[in-house]
Symmetry: C2
């Protein structure tokens, strides 16, 4: 649970397929990833084995092929990885990260407006929850 769900590129790409489809065979994963890059079936299969060993996916047999499903949610992975990065780059200070986003990452007025709305919305949500 509280594990480090830090995924590499391919692992994450595979997870995205599984999250989107609920579950998928090796062939299906490969197919879904085909436009991004062409990888051998065995590459996907090997990776899935490693991922299962790590405990982030599981499989069941359907006929003679394996159907894989995710064991961690996208949100969990996001939390892990964003948290990791925030710690590493900003000493765990979330506002420092947001500040960086505002000043160093290109953000246009439209996005800024959405951010403002997000924060306003969040505040009211907090209040509604009785904070």
């Amino acid at each position: 649970m509280g594990d480090k769900h830090i995924l590499g590129d391919l692992q994450h790409a595979i997870m995205r397929v599984l999250w989107a489809e609920g579950e998928a065979t090796v062939a299906r994963v490969q197919e879904a990833l085909e436009d991004e890059r062409d990888r051998a079936l065995t590459t996907i299969a090997t990776m899935l084995v490693k991922m299962e060993k790590k405990g982030i996916v599981a499989h069941r047999s359907e006929g003679r092929q394996f159907v894989y499903r995710p064991l961690v949610s996208e949100t969990e992975v996001q939390r892990s990885m964003v948290g990791e990065l925030t710690d590493m780059l900003f000493g765990g200070d979330v506002t420092a990260l947001v500040s960086h986003l505002l000043t160093e990452q290109e953000i246009d007025d439209k996005e800024l407006a959405r951010l403002k709305a997000l924060i306003a919305e969040h505040r009211s949500k907090e209040r509604r929850r009785g904070r």
Copy 2:
């Protein structure tokens, strides 16, 4: 320049020392990192060689020891790594990242207030620049 300044844990720890001190010898870096974890001098030295090969630090000789200095700024590294993560986890959508921070990462009222202030400040800055 536009390179991928994606650093591992140790590399980043070393960079933090160099950023803080401007430049430092191997021994100084090790000393600064001592409280975090005890690593052999040669570990730091080897890493610095690899980092120099990557082009993110450089050294000059002072007597018989090397004095290393950073060749990339902290901001550049933050931009690279935050950008990378934003692409990987949120399809490049910065507002999605902020939204995640608001809903999934624990943010208290004080931080929220600071965020609001940040955004307000940023907006006025934009306006001042004539956007």
